[in-house]
Amino acid sequence: MLSVLVRRLANVVPTLVAVIALVFLLFSVLPGSFISGMGEDGRTTIDPAVMERMRKEMGLDDPLPERFAKYIAHTATGDLGTSFRTREPVTYLIGQRVWPSVKLVFGAMFFAILIGVPLGFLAALKPGSLIDTASMVGAISGLSLSQFWLGLMLMYLFALQLKWLPSFGYGDGGIQHLILPAVALGVGPMALLARTTRAAVLDVLNADFVRTARSKGMSEPRVVKWHVMRNALVLVITTIGLQFGSLMGAAVVVEKLFAWPGVGSLLIDSVFQRDIPTVQGCILLIVTFFLVINTLVDLAYVAIDPRIRYGR
């Protein structure tokens, strides 16, 4: 188990560094840096000399590799730089936003698993039945929905018309405010999980060892419990891990729609304000989070499937 973990981490770090490099590179060619933007938007006029001093201060004149190396070094110690906009440490800015984002993403995934997996299971156990057709039609529809449009419609119906739930914002952090955004975000993954679970369970139900189990005189519910579930779980867990990635992408939009104070909305705002350190910090955080989740999924895989544990 430990060796798998170590190997996995050894893979993660280079990927992470590559991502940082890519983001760094991309934003270093961003036309209209924050400095010039400050003068252009007319709100503040800056003396060119002052601009020049700021550039030197922020190290923007140093050659690219040097800046990159410095950035990596700083990141390793937890210093993500200073926001161009608010002059606060990026780590602080992001830190404030992490918990709402975590709540949203996990809330959405929880919803997706809660409904998607059992639905897929039932659909597989009764192929061709009404529940199978209905859930698969529902699933493919869920995949075709624009998540923020769904959020908008939900907002309209439940918040503005029925007034059951608050229409936006984080509020006091209570669950009321979490429901609409989490559902809007979770419908897509839920649909995919329903389909993947169904496929995985069907696959297992037709496997040879399930036939053996039946030949032992096991009742169908027992067969499912003792033999099918664990084997189908492997594929389902992998899908859950991968879904976190697209979930975090879509979360950016949902956060903006619902004015949710998370890392996603910070990312968007920073992009528009050309607050590059913050942008880089947000992306770094998101990617790290995703890689961590995938590593956990790999470990769960190992825990469940003994073939990997003992090697072949």
Binding site: T15, F27, I140, S144, L202, F290
Partner: protein, 280 residues
């Protein structure tokens, strides 16, 4: 294979999906004939925010433009985004996959590392970053989306190359004197064409959804162009006063993407009829 009472084979998806997509394509082609007004220029503030009625089938927006006509023309933008971005994706993916599998070595490692990196970044966020650099607009959008989803076709192509390699096809062809390019075109491409089309079809749906999201954020296609996504971004603020502004563009997106998903599913099933992995 018939499963119980409800026959849900690849066939149904194929027909329904194909019909939906075909319908959207026709709308896009014949837009000038179907629409009632010019989607950008015909803006009469006297007609602002009229709910759907006999004259304005889908109502009008804050600028007094006919929503119906805008949606009809918007189909052109959505389909363009979908098709071109997927072409770009496939091109990049196939090229990288072919060369990586074929020549192997450090280039293969490099491409694999690149693919890993792409998979670690949520695609929407990557597209976001590129749009931030390129600025809003249709061409930048297509490029951005074209650069995000190539990893699937890349993996597919590379796997196919490696499989043929291990079976000795490539070596045999070389001995026969075939040039590398000829091998790539005659041996490898025909095998991946089917799955590639499936990937591209499903990818079009994703691209259209991504366009909507990016336009909504202000990074995609900006008003007054009638992309369905930008229409939604304009509609957001009027949700209480004019809800129909949000409903119709969203429905247009939904049915188009649904059609593409069904079509993609149907194609996948008809190409690889394994009854248990159907509709996966």
């Amino acid at each position: 294979m018939k499963l119980g009472k409800f026959k849900l084979k690849g066939g149904t998806s194929l027909w329904v999906g194909g019909t939906l997509v075909g319908f959207v394509v026709l709308v896009a082609i014949f837009a000038p004939l179907i629409a009632h007004t010019d989607p950008v220029l015909d803006a009469n503030l006297m007609n602002a925010e009229i709910p759907p009625d006999w004259e304005f089938w889908f109502g009008t927006d804050a600028q007094g433009r006919d929503i119906y006509s805008r949606i009809v023309y918007g189909s052109r933008i959505s389909l363009t985004v979908g098709v071109v971005s997927q072409l770009l994706n496939s091109l990049i993916g196939i090229t990288l996959g072919l060369t990586a599998g074929y020549w192997g070595g450090w280039w293969d490692d490099f491409v694999s590392g690149l693919t890993n990196m792409m998979l670690a970044i949520p695609s929407l966020i990557f597209a976001l970053a590129i749009m931030a650099i390129l600025g809003p607009g249709l061409s930048s959008l297509v490029i951005a989306l074209g650069l995000t989803a190539w990893s699937y076709s890349c993996r597919l192509t590379r796997a196919q190359v490696l499989s043929l390699k291990s079976q000795g096809y490539i070596q045999a062809a070389r001995i026969l004197g075939y040039g590398d390019l000829r091998i790539m075109f005659t041996q490898i491409l025909p095998n991946i064409l089917g799955p590639l089309i499936v990937i591209a079809t499903l990818g079009m749906g994703t691209a259209i959804l991504a366009e909507a999201a990016l336009s909504f954020l202000g990074l995609g296609i900006r008003p007054p162009f009638p992309s369905w996504g930008s229409m939604l971004s304009e509609a957001r603020d009027q949700i209480t006063t004019a809800p129909w502004l949000s409903v119709f563009p969203g429905l247009a997106i939904f049915f188009t993407v649904l059609g593409l998903n069904l079509l993609g599913d149907g194609l996948r099933d008809s190409l690889d009829p394994q009854s248990t992995t159907r509709r996966a």
